[in-house]
Symmetry: C2
Subunit: 270 residues, 2 copies
Amino acid sequence: MTFQEKLRAAAAQNRSLLCVGLDPDQAQLPACVRDQDNPTLYFLKHLIDATADLVCAYKPNFAFFGALGEAGWPTLKATLEHIPPSIPVLLDAKVGDIGNTAEQYARMFFEVLGADALTVNPYMGRDAVAPFLAYPDKGVFLLCLTSNKGAADFEQQELADGPLYLRVARKACEWNTAHNCGLVVGATQSAAFAQLRQLAPDLPFLVPGVGAQGGDLEAVVRHGADAKGGGLLINASRAVLYASAGTDFAAAGRRAAQQLREQIEACRAA
Amino acid sequence: MTFQEKLRAAAAQNRSLLCVGLDPDQAQLPACVRDQDNPTLYFLKHLIDATADLVCAYKPNFAFFGALGEAGWPTLKATLEHIPPSIPVLLDAKVGDIGNTAEQYARMFFEVLGADALTVNPYMGRDAVAPFLAYPDKGVFLLCLTSNKGAADFEQQELADGPLYLRVARKACEWNTAHNCGLVVGATQSAAFAQLRQLAPDLPFLVPGVGAQGGDLEAVVRHGADAKGGGLLINASRAVLYASAGTDFAAAGRRAAQQLREQIEACRAA
């Protein structure tokens, strides 16, 4: 089963376009998990159990595991193993390097860790992206227009035929011969969604920035959904993970995820 | 001691602008190391021992360690511990993410692993770079104009005031308030060195691409050196690591490094 098929099946099964980001920030873990053998793993397992019927995907961010040092790899691996096999895993590492190095990253994330999809930084161009696209069953999400303020520094700069991020989107369509490419488009960039969806009618968009970053969910769904009302992975991390700092963290995370899924579904119905 | 001071001291001590890239590709390890408990570590330790008096820095590439799975982190850590403390370590991971994630990468590479410098992808703009620049004693090398063919796809695209990579260089100068920023400029891009050095007279340039990728060493040194004839970390990975597939791999790596250092010194003297 390809990433795209797995994503569509999970989205249909759970009636959800919600992707939950797994960013275990040590400074924000609830006090009640700190006595566990592996607080991060305990915390994430409970959140996964509490939300697995509400999401279309999980998005672990590699940095938060890497910052754990030696414990990072086994913790990430055990987290991935705890995710039900029907839910796709989109690993967020924003990698990008020359060909022989990109091959190592592809091996690391797709083969050794078994992720279904990966975020990739397009700055270095086609040959830095190709080793990932060479896995037809995996998803490759190119950073296009991100949710942060710094998007103005380079991504939104004007080339002869439009801003840089549109060129990234056009190139993604051109390189998408195996139908495994997607784009990262921040929810705070709602004005850009209509044009990007027109340009890339079939690409899935990973959309961070609806929670803590304050993006406009309604505009994202209205302008960003594909012809079938899907094609979006709307990500929330902090809003779900840290919904409560108490012993009810998993239940509170579930409520936050439920609320977000319902908001998204209401937008889709409208 | 800051990264810049450590770099200058190592370059002066070893009379070298050569940086050796530590990219342990499992498919290329000499047969004679395969029986070792940790073939990668054994291989790298011998190469470090054979070259530590010839280099101004080592540049381990995270991907090649990550691809080892669970063994990757301890192998990387033990490799870094084996590098003499007088030689700076530039960790090549080309990271870039929003602020709270970038902070995790900074912690991972600067604090937990203790690297002296890091490569960072500038695509997401200032707030994705700032958490690294916030470490005044560490070096932050922004990808500017890379050595691969894909550089034409985005990096060399023309904005109103010149190509994108020049904007990255101008921003790097603007963001360099702690004097800890550098640029990555591929050796295959020799035509761009004079302009980049004029624009950024004081920034160190990490220059990959002289070995396997075939860059023009003489043009790099002539146009890329700073006013004192330094400011370059000229990287070779495969040309040194895989100089021999036999039991003489370390001696052959030393000869390759020596030859490159002498070529660079000859260019500096000219």
